[in-house]
Amino acid sequence: MELYLYIALFSPLVGSMFAALYGAKPRTKIAGVVPSALLITSLIASTILLAHILSTGEIVHVEMMTWMATGNLYIPFGFIVDQVSVTMMMVVTLVSSVVHVYAIGYMDHDKGFNRFFSWLSAFVFSMLILVMSDNFAGLFIGWEGVGLCSWGLIGFWYHKESATWAANEAFIMNRIADLGMLIGIFLVYWNTGTLQYEGAFAAMQNLDTEILTWMGIFLFIGAMGKSAQFPLHTWLADAMEGPTPVSALIHAATMVTAGVYLVVRSNELYALIPDVGVFIASLGAFVAMFAASMALVNRDIKRVIAYSTLSQLGYMFVAAGLGAYWVALFHLMAHAFFKALLFLGAGNVMHAMDSELDPFKMGGLGKTMKASMVMMTLASVALAGIFPLAGFFSKDIIIEAAFVEHHFIIYTVLLLTAGLTAFYSFRIIALIFHGEERYKLFGFHPHEAYKFMLVAMSPLLILAVIAGSLKMTYFEMVTAVLPATEYHLHSVTTYWIMTIGTQIFVILAILYAYKKYANSSIKVPDGTSKMEKSFVYKLLINQYYIPYSYEQYLIRPYRELSTIFWKQIDMKIVDASVDGIAGIIYGTGEKTRAMQSGNLSTMLKWMVLGLVILLSLAVVFGLAARHFDEIKVILSGLGV
């Protein structure tokens, strides 16, 4: 099994390096095909590992080599494939295989084709390190690796100012959170003496609650950055500047769920500090609602889906915070499938519309893009949580968990959010595929994507539809390492009322979205309608003025402070003193240069002068040493 582990882990790296060889060369198909093939190899190896774990329940744990060993610190390059990491491996390799194949078509005309695949495969490698590592240090390497690759891919079209800005924003925000994460890891090491998950979690059982709380908080700050939770959420929507396959893979299915993975992986820690768990759940519920509300009005299909991702991450954190770790992981998996599908469908639409993203300029695309329409609609149904698609099983159970745990505020928020989710998902579906063909006004000639791209998407479609039926198998597998919390309502009637009620609520939201946006009276908004002038609309379209206030109240003062530090402290004190020292030495040299007249006689005179000075110094110091005691007496008499 070790061999399969190494194959799964290292084939993306090989693929990345292979594509990198062509980095500076003109676009060539092979730079896309080989990494894709290697990723499918990785997928097969992961599937074999999954089958192994499903049949024997045996955890594969290897130690490739020692990384650091000094004193009491021992960190190996160790990898573990247990029920949790194998889930993540399956999600990562599956979605990335699909995205790789899809991207061969999507990036067809791009000059940076080879570079793209190099980054994309490098991302998968880092993500696999992140999920497979058996210690916090390895996790952190993967964590930084995915951050770097995400930076490279958001800023992929680096000639665009907005793309580089978004890439830097994402990177910097993640750095802020990573500081928290790093402090958390240090706390773990100081208090448990090890970074191996096994040893660390075992040692945590005997620690003070206070220390554990700090650990939990700092590790969660790291998770907040990567998973874009409030208040570090603004980067995710801006990250949509990257190519769409990147958004599907990194900013929907895998990287952003790393935070959830971290909380799930540290479940033994969070089980000891339920207060932090409640905080995580409350923040998750808030973000779910908050992000969904911003998605309601946005006029950029990718951003709508990004907010939806944010909102679903909120759901996952609610589950993880309430101790339903397996539910969080299950929703993570289901979400990866339907959200990646949704993004790739949006990619098809963008491709057809020459990168136009405003759904109000589309309309009626269903006639020319049947397959994409079906896929996106099914993905949205799954996202909305309609029976029997994946979202129903994974999302409803989170809502139920909140109810059973008596967190009724969270429950209400999540329920309302489910309605909002359904509404905004079908708002864009209706605007893109139904209604009048508004795109004709703007002179677009949409066409369906390549056949093989659609075929590549189909595994995601199948999984988005059937993932729910895997729930019990999954539950049995993953509860070998996670707490087996099951949520049964006390009475069957309540259960049915709640389930059917939710379903009806969601369906009504969908129908309302269709009624409002699929009719022929929709016009491209020009800022004159009553709705657009309302306060709420302005608040939502400006993302609650949060990016604005960050700019105004954090970035601006920081920049001004930096200018002051630069001009006043750096230039006038630090630079001035360094330059001063250099100036003194330079000036002395310049002045004393005259001594070197080259005249032997003059130089001899200087030599004699030096000799006299040295001699007299020797005499003075010799006398001082000889009469040290008397000098001391005189000095003490002077009161020195």
Partner: protein, 101 residues
């Protein structure tokens, strides 16, 4: 009056001062060598006198070393001097300023 250590040292100092003045004032390379010889030999006198005073032969041995070094120095120096004289037809110190910084 008996001649003691101090007399030798005073002689040595006087010779050394004469040498120093010669080193500083002379513009003729040949005379500069003379001045250097005076310097070295004033030190030799001091060495020999102090060695005798303490009854320790080390100082006198050192004086021999100095004589040997002085001889070789003069040999090399005179060689260079002759070359210089052949090229420039003078041995004036002021004309040697190629090392100007």
């Amino acid at each position: 009056m008996e001649i003691g250590l101090n007399h030798y040292l005073v002689l040595s100092t006087i010779l050394f001062s004469i040498g120093l003045v010669g080193v500083m004032r002379r513009k003729n390379l040949l005379l500069l060598f003379f001045a250097t010889e005076i310097l070295l030999n004033s030190v030799n006198i001091a060495f020999a006198a102090i060695s005798h005073y303490y009854g320790d032969l080390t100082g006198q041995m050192f004086a021999f070393f100095v004589i040997a070094i002085a001889a070789s120095e003069v040999a090399v120096g005179l060689g260079l001097l002759i070359v210089w004289h052949k090229r420039h037809n003078n041995i004036d110190l002021d004309s040697m300023s190629t090392m100007k910084g």
